[in-house]
């Protein structure tokens, strides 16, 4: 063996040893074994959060929208936040490096159960949450954050995924999702859609209303045949997409510069654009909508649990709920916020309207178990992810 070859062999061998070391180190299955605390101690001075756009504002986007600075002043917990564009990114961030990099997350229903199943989030002692009983009854113990009677977080905000359109261009005013899903839409080329596999459910909602023969009952419980039908709607639509959006700010830019004239959005984008004087409107189309209900969850390995408990308490107060609702135009989980928002605003948001609440198909993780008599006939999220890659092409 020539010398360089010998050196190379040593290098590769040591690299292999290292890799073998990697094989041996089994992942530690984080289980929230520790029982929840019985009182909130002194703040640890810091709080690291994962959140949706618009949930953790310190007055930088809008000087009036600031519920972080007073929190920091009152509790001494310095808040840092990382905004993630999708539920999948949130789950990945909470699991990063075995968990513990962040204290809490504003998880939607399609992320929360994954985090609970993965042992990434801790059981919360709701006795320590002031005003827990004020939460909208439907959101006190919903299946997306309460498993076996254990609460894994505190509900925060909920809302619908709306159809946003440019009122100068899209005429007559649309009433149906067909403006984005119909392959003959006059606005093809100037459409946008949310860049996540969960968007398949929006197509399923549209099909549920327009193609009853598919017998879609729940947009997250799709058999392979129903999923294929949704993919068949989304694939031709991809050609008419100017760009998929991830972070809310991306979509705001797309609408603001005219690249896009119609597409699915969160109410937040509509409000942000209207604040800048852009001619946009957000509507709930006649086929109904998908939506989300978000929960503040605490990491099972949180480094600053006291600050997280203080944060969950803080964000549930009617004052903060009202501030957030006014900033993002979502529904507050605590209807007491209405006394501050005013009844007119709350009626516009349908905060206490059970019919409106029931009309939204809230995000949840698709599983192979359909959850009804069809049994394990449904497609799980890994299949959705695969299909989403195909749709984008």
């Amino acid at each position: 063996m020539k010398r360089p070859a010998r050196i190379a062999a040593v290098i590769v061998a040591s690299a292999l040893l290292l890799a073998a070391g990697g094989v041996d180190s089994k992942p530690t299955h984080a289980r929230a074994s520790a029982s929840p605390p019985t009182k909130i101690g002194k703040g640890e001075g810091q709080l690291d959060l994962i959140a949706w756009d618009g949930y953790v504002e310190s007055g930088k986007n809008d000087p009036k929208a600031d519920w972080v600075t007073p929190f920091e002043q009152q509790t001494g917990c310095k808040v840092t936040v990382k905004f993630e564009p999708t539920s999948d990114d949130m789950v990945a961030a909470m699991r990063e490096g075995g968990g513990g990099a962040y204290d809490g997350v504003s998880a939607s229903g399609d992320a929360s159960n994954r985090l609970i199943a993965g042992g990434n989030v801790a059981v919360v002692n709701t006795k320590l949450i002031k005003g827990f009983s004020d939460i909208n009854k439907k959101l006190q113990s919903p299946p997306h954050n309460t498993v076996n009677g254990k609460h894994y977080g505190v509900s925060f905000m909920w809302g619908a995924n709306v159809l946003l359109y440019n009122t100068d261009v899209v005429k007559p005013a649309p009433t149906s999702w067909s403006v984005v899903f119909d392959p003959k839409s006059p606005y093809a080329g100037k459409l946008t859609a949310y860049d996540s596999p969960i968007y398949i459910a929006d197509a399923a909602i549209y099909l549920k209303a327009t193609k009853p023969s598919l017998k879609i009952t729940d947009p997250y419980e799709l058999t392979p045949k129903q999923l294929a039908a949704a993919v068949a709607v989304l694939k031709p639509m991809a050609k008419g997409i100017a760009k998929y959006w991830g972070l809310a700010g991306d979509e705001v830019d797309l609408f603001a510069n005219g690249s896009v004239v119609a597409g699915q959005a969160w109410p937040y984008q509509g409000v942000a654009l209207q604040r800048d004087g852009k001619p946009v409107r957000a509507i709930i189309p006649k086929e109904k909508v998908t939506g989300w209900a978000d929960t503040w969850m605490m990491s099972s390995k949180a480094k600053h649990p006291n600050c997280m408990y203080k944060w969950m308490n803080w964000t549930l107060t009617p004052e903060v709920q009202a501030q957030v609702a006014a900033f993002v135009n979502y529904d507050p989980a605590n209807p007491k916020a209405c006394s501050i928002l005013g009844q007119a605003v709350c009626d516009g948001l349908h905060v206490t309207d059970p019919k409106y609440f029931a009309s939204i198909s809230f995000w949840k993780t698709p599983l192979s178990n359909c959850g009804d008599k069809r049994g394990n006939a449904c497609t799980d999220y890994s299949v959705w992810t695969q299909k989403w890659t195909e749709i984008k092409g």
Binding site: L16, P27, H29, D89, G258, E390
Partner: protein, 315 residues
């Protein structure tokens, strides 16, 4: 005297017959230098430890881990990596058309960017190396390298603003009466940005190769009756070839691995986007690793061929 020689006073007086009372305590540095004296292999080993750790552990080690994890899988519910060895990731890649489409698209783009960049870089490099006055050469080279000193992200975002709907480009062309071009978020936009981003990396090796050609060779060629075109084809081009190949390694490899430019200025997926989505959103690092082996394999072949063509002499 003893002070001058640095010897003990006693030793000096007895003409060196007494033993030195206290031996001079050698400093650490002297000890080290003494230990290394006459041991060239040890010296070499010490010098090589940091680079070997760097290359062996950090670079090759992570490559090996990448290769190994491509055979693992992710537990669906908990999202943790399960160390069961299997070919499932490769089967997914093999069986799903989309992964072929994306891989071929990426390779196609890498090839196109390389060809375009060489066509743009060669005349410029030739001008700087052989035509420009020696005084202005450093200035032009500085201008070529300058973009590399600003952030990649800033440049990519700048292009997004230029190419997007109602952006700078559309504004300029409509002012010229050509109407808006509207290539925002298209494949063309991605191609333009890639070509721009990697151009300096292609110019520099070609420039180095061209600059090294002795003028005497060109004169000899002319003396022997070769026309300019013949001299170019039979003297300049063969001698510049290693530089061209070296430059092409940069443009090809960088395009193959990039995912930021496509996600900023385009909307279609490249190998890097699939890898990124699987590491982040889909939380499937093993699949990402398996898919990332495709560009690694392509580059291995590319580099072998490039080495044969003498590209590594120009790096």
């Amino acid at each position: 005297m003893h002070r001058l020689l640095g010897v003990d006073a006693e030793v000096d007086r007895d003409q060196g017959l007494t033993k030195r009372t206290e031996p001079r305590t050698p400093t650490r540095r002297l000890q080290l230098s003494a230990a290394l004296h006459g041991r060239p292999r040890l010296k070499l080993a010490l010098l090589l430890v940091p680079p070997i750790v760097w290359i062996g552990v950090i670079y090759l080690g992570s490559l090996t881990l990448l290769f190994a994890s491509a055979f693992w899988r992710v537990d669906e519910l908990s999202g943790t990596i399960v160390h069961d060895w299997g070919l499932q990731n490769f089967r997914t890649i093999w069986e799903n058309e989309i992964y072929h489409t994306v891989a071929f698209r990426t390779i196609k783009f890498a090839a196109a960017v390389t060809v375009i960049d060489i066509m743009l870089a060669f005349p410029l490099a030739y001008y700087v190396a052989r035509i420009a006055r020696p005084k202005s050469r450093p200035v032009i080279l500085l201008l070529i390298v300058m973009p590399l000193w600003s952030s990649y992200l800033v440049r990519a975002f700048a292009w997004r603003t230029i190419l997007s709907h109602n952006g700078v480009l559309d504004w300029a062309t409509s002012k010229l009466g050509l109407g808006a071009i509207g290539i925002g978020y298209s494949d063309t936009a991605v191609l333009i940005v890639f070509c721009y981003l990697w151009l300096p990396f292609v110019i520099l090796p070609i420039y180095t190769a061209l600059e090294r050609i002795p003028s005497s060779l060109l004169e000899a060629s002319q003396d022997l009756g070769a026309k300019n075109a013949t001299t170019f084809r039979r003297v300049v081009l063969p001698l510049a070839k290693p530089g061209i190949v070296a430059g092409s390694i940069f443009s090809f490899a960088l395009t193959l691995g990039d995912y930021i430019a496509p996600s900023l200025v385009g909307k279609t997926q490249f190998i890097g986007n699939i890898v990124k989505d699987n590491v982040g959103a889909a939380n499937n690092a093993p699949f990402a690793a398996a898919y990332a082996l495709i560009p690694v394999a392509i580059m291995a072949v590319y580099l072998t061929v490039a080495r044969r063509m003498g590209a590594f002499e120009e790096l």
